[in-house]
Homo-oligomer: 327 residues x 2
Amino acid sequence: MNPLEKYKHLFQAELKLVDEKILSISQGKAALIGNLVSHMISSGGKRLRLIFVILSSKLCENKSDNHIKMAACVELLHTATLFHDDVVDKSKLRRGRKTANELWGNSASVLVGDFLLAQAFMIMAEVGNLEIIDVLSKTSSIITEGEVKQLMHKSDVTTSFEDYIDIIRGKTAELFSACCRSGAIISASEKIKKDALENFGRNLGIAFQITDDALDYIAQNQSLGKKNGDDFREGKATLPIIYAYINADKSEQEYLKKIFQENEEARDELEFAKVKTILNKYNSIEQTLKTADKYTKLAKENISIFGDSSEKEAILQILDFCVNRNF
Amino acid sequence: MNPLEKYKHLFQAELKLVDEKILSISQGKAALIGNLVSHMISSGGKRLRLIFVILSSKLCENKSDNHIKMAACVELLHTATLFHDDVVDKSKLRRGRKTANELWGNSASVLVGDFLLAQAFMIMAEVGNLEIIDVLSKTSSIITEGEVKQLMHKSDVTTSFEDYIDIIRGKTAELFSACCRSGAIISASEKIKKDALENFGRNLGIAFQITDDALDYIAQNQSLGKKNGDDFREGKATLPIIYAYINADKSEQEYLKKIFQENEEARDELEFAKVKTILNKYNSIEQTLKTADKYTKLAKENISIFGDSSEKEAILQILDFCVNRNF
């Protein structure tokens, strides 16, 4: 059974409160803000980041309602990033629906993204914990650094493994890390627990993104929105391609270099099939998933300091689910 | 004598420290971040917001070096806004130089804008004052609300005076207000001083933006960057136009409505001259400048609670300079 179903009694009530908190921020604001906020709430998604804030805080025996505020805060930060990313990537679809920039234009996405960022920091001020503000402002900065680095390396199939990890650590893993650490901070946990959850979140996030990058070449299930081959079409050199490039022969290397630097139109279905043939030849997807598995194991070790509980069980099973999904 | 020259001994040394602080944030970061940060520092500008943070903090007898951090913080917030605004407005020139989006593309401007916002909040966490974080996150939110509202009313020459004030309060005045209040907060001043400076900053900001909107139709001096007629070309219905529309006859009203809703290409020099004729006919520029003057007077009243000092003198003269400038 899908652990997000199995353990939903641990976070379902909280998610509802988080949604209420998020919807409340657009009350009395310009209609355009309300439109984009509703669009974001109704488009769903797996809401993993929120769930990790809630489960981490419960694992640390949080007593206040700050976990609701923190989960809302993290969701706002994340959504702001998505709004801005979709402008940067010129994306038209996300989770199977038109993106905000496609529906309301780039200007609205940039400005409402900024609004959500500001609201996230307003909530942090409300929570009134300087450590939280320190962690989340740094996280925010690292996310953008990851995005900028991705922009600079975008079509570069010769990107090193280290640079790749650095990029996904920034664009994905740091927020998971901050989510998990936040749960410990608002529960006033000792440093060892904060660090454990921080590292857990980071390794989980890296494993999650690597899996995502592999799935872009192999996923069959299109029902959850992202189109198979999106990274390829956008010319993003992700880990499967980086591994393939390292193992490929000269002519295949030249081909990979060339096809990723072409205009988007050049990367059609035919070229996608050709690239997948190279990935298969060198088992690049298996190699990629093995790397994800390494980070999954690290994540599990990170939280071994916590005793058994249903929250820990849920966290571990959701981790496994994230890296073994086929969507 | 220009008061920014006359009183520069009150803030010059501090501005240098602020620049060092700002330059330090791009150290060790991706080259693209460094490029945009240097571009921003070297493009100068009047740096009024920074100067008001420093003068307000001195007026409140600040003893720490937090005014340097706060000035850097405010400059980062402001620059992030400019980067994003230029993407939203598709601007090509600012202060006589190519904009960041023109030089490095929209993606870089969006992401580095986000980076600067995150860095601003990191500095606030460093200052460690929750009231500052509360004020500046709210300010950040109100700025974006102003921008969103401007986007929604952009070409609407029937925008009411109240909506116009609401827009410029958001996009311009709240940050001046936060600058001035910050100076009092970091100096641990009593509430009456904080409120006085907050209101002063807001009224100054409104007067400043109204003057700016008038100058767009009359400024002769092009040396400081912004091109005369920018607002008209972009189709922004600002106060001179709003006043003209109220006083105009039916056919002029129809013409104004139509020309502001056309594509940008339609608003050429010929049409600019026609619109200026209507503004002249109804003394709309004079009426606009009179309104600015009303807010200038309010600003002066706001800080009447402070005793005489060279800082207060500087603040008052810079205020007058801002609303009597011809650039």
